[in-house]
């Protein structure tokens, strides 16, 4: 018989769905911000409504995520302690500062785009907010990966692909969310965007980036799996445990419907992003929605699955 080990630990997941939500929404937020900024800088005027949608999503989504995180805190009244105490070794402490700054900058950016008529000092221009916001957005994206990756007690998290995944996730979900919301709004409000075929053609690079990111994400997930599967014993056991618990959900909703299906849809739609043609808004919307589902599922499996208790054979290692 196998060795039997017993150690009484506190039961239950430590970071629950609220943290998944925070990470997911945070990713959507920074992705949307970068999308908005790039579109705003480099695309034509006709994409401004899309820019506005994305820019608005950024602070709202990140704030909502932070709200979820705050809800999760055991001792909410003490949250100001993060500001009173400098904790430079803590990724979470940095995250709080970076996210705070990001929310402020992205909110300002969105505000300037939405309400250009309101007069504010020059330093608070959309350009300043945008340019300043970009590094913070990237930092927040990396932070979301790093927060988990520094926890070496959790092999599923403490890996390079974890950070890359996080970056790719925000690209995919941020853009997807922006496009999805935009499409929904357009369907509801019908604002003027000019000829739809030209509009679509202009977005072809975005579609390509999205496709590429989704494909890269697939590759990264595979790399992650390889990393764990052929890694240390604890890593192997952690992967096994995660897959046993969340493997099916991850395969079906994270990879199947969440990445492969949208990639297939995307590829099939690519020819439609051309002169005189328009991709089906419904299909684009569906692809975006599925990417969001996929992004959430991957986050979920990583966060919740990564917390499955460390095998006792690891915890009982005396050397």
């Amino acid at each position: 018989m196998d060795t039997e080990l017993i150690l009484t630990l506190q039961r239950g997941v430590i970071w629950d769905e609220r943290v998944v939500g925070d990470l997911f929404l945070g990713g959507v937020g920074v992705g949307a911000f970068l999308f908005a900024f790039l579109l705003w800088r480099f695309a034509e005027e006709r994409y401004l409504p899309l820019v506005k949608v994305a820019a608005t999503i950024a602070p709202v989504s990140v704030s909502a995520g932070l709200g979820l995180l705050f809800w999760k805190l055991g001792n909410k009244l003490n949250v100001h302690q993060m500001m009173l105490n400098i904790s430079p070794t803590s990724v979470m402490w940095w995250g709080a500062i970076i996210q705070g700054a990001f929310v402020a900058l992205s909110a300002l950016f969105a505000f300037r785009l939405l309400f250009p008529q309101v007069s504010l000092p020059r330093v608070l221009s959309a350009s300043v907010a945008g340019f300043l916001g970009v590094p913070f957005a990237v930092a927040v994206g990396i932070y979301h990966g790093l927060l988990l990756a520094v926890l070496t007690s959790h092999p599923l998290w403490a890996s390079g692909p974890m950070i890359v995944t996080s970056v790719l996730l925000f690209t995919v979900t941020g853009v997807a969310a922006s496009v999805l919301v935009y499409l929904a709004l357009r369907a509801a409000v019908r604002f003027e965007t000019g000829p739809s075929d030209i509009f679509a053609q202009g977005l072809k690079p975005v579609a390509l980036v999205l496709l590429a990111s989704a494909a890269l994400l697939l590759v990264t997930l595979f790399a992650w799996w390889v990393d764990l599967r052929f890694g240390s014993v604890p890593a192997r056991l952690a992967l096994q445990a995660m897959l046993a618990e969340h493997g099916i959900v991850l395969a079906v909703f994270g990879i199947g419907f969440g990445l492969l299906v949208p990639i297939v849809i995307g590829i099939s739609l690519l020819p439609h992003f051309g002169a005189g043609r328009t991709p089906s808004a419904a299909l684009v919307g569906l692809a975006c929605l599925l990417l969001l589902v996929g992004g959430f599922t991957i986050r979920y499996a990583a966060v919740i699955g990564g917390q499955l208790p460390t095998p006792l054979s690891v915890m009982a290692t005396l050397s």
């Binding site: 506190q10 001792n75 003490n78 302690q81 904790s87 520094v150 460390t310 915890m315 009982a316 290692t317």
Partner: protein
């Protein structure tokens, strides 16, 4: 005086696995019954009749390189001058990152107000037996065997929403006593003291025996060391 570096050495050869440490710790530190600041791993190995059993007492390792401290966003978890890893409940926001960061599972989170059994107002046989609340009221304490000395350096009972863990009984060490698990050990299997003092019991034990630590590869550099074997190797 030189800086202290407190550590504990657990002699598995002397330990008999009685759990007196675990229980004494709960009494000393007003620890809720669900939590185990002082804890143990038990292991049964082999196939009958070649079966062995061992018991590894565990507690916060007071790591030199403590992930709970590194990751705490408010410095509520901190390294004291004397090497102890301590926690300030007043700064704790209850994010539980320390719990995630700790590879040893020695940090516990108060999901609810602790010691619920002494706040319950039901009696097993109404009129004939007490309720938990009555018992606590009778003794005018949060729980009847509440140790007020614990409150000298830490929340006497940690409130809902914050984490808690072993403090090497810093309140006892401050007045020149050993931690409760050390004094309660009937086997004298635990040696506590200052590793910077070569004459201290743990320093001498480490010089004599090959020390081991839990999950050495995590790089946490624990201050709880294990020497010798529990039973037949």
């Amino acid at each position: 005086m030189a800086k202290k570096r407190y550590a504990m050495v657990i002699d598995l050869h002397r330990c008999v696995g009685c759990a007196a440490c675990d229980i004494a710790c709960k009494a000393e530190n007003n620890v809720p019954v669900e939590f185990h600041w002082s804890n143990h791993i038990v292991e049964t190995r082999g196939t009958f009749p070649n079966t062995t059993f061992r018991y590894i007492p565990t507690l916060c390792n007071h790591c030199e390189n403590a992930p709970c401290v590194t990751n705490c966003p408010t410095t509520a978890m901190y390294k004291a001058e004397n090497g102890m890893t301590l926690h300030d409940a007043n700064k704790c926001i209850g994010c539980r990152l320390c719990q995630l960061a700790c590879p040893y599972g020695v940090i516990f989170f108060n999901k609810d107000t602790p010691h619920a059994n002494y706040r319950d107002s039901q009696a097993a046989i109404p009129g004939a037996t007490f309720s938990g609340r009555e018992m606590a009221e009778r003794t005018q304490a949060p729980l009847p065997y509440y140790n007020p000395a614990r409150a000298e350096t830490y929340a006497g009972v940690r409130p809902r929403g914050v984490v808690e863990k072993c403090t090497f009984c810093d309140h006892k060490v401050a007045v020149g006593e050993d931690p409760a698990c050390v004094t309660a050990c009937p086997a004298d299997a635990r040696l506590f003291g200052d590793l910077n003092d070569p004459e201290s019991k743990p320093a001498k034990a480490l010089a004599r025996h090959r020390p081991r630590v839990l999950q050495r590869d995590k790089g946490t550099q624990p201050h709880v060391f294990y020497i010798r074997e529990y039973g037949k190797a």
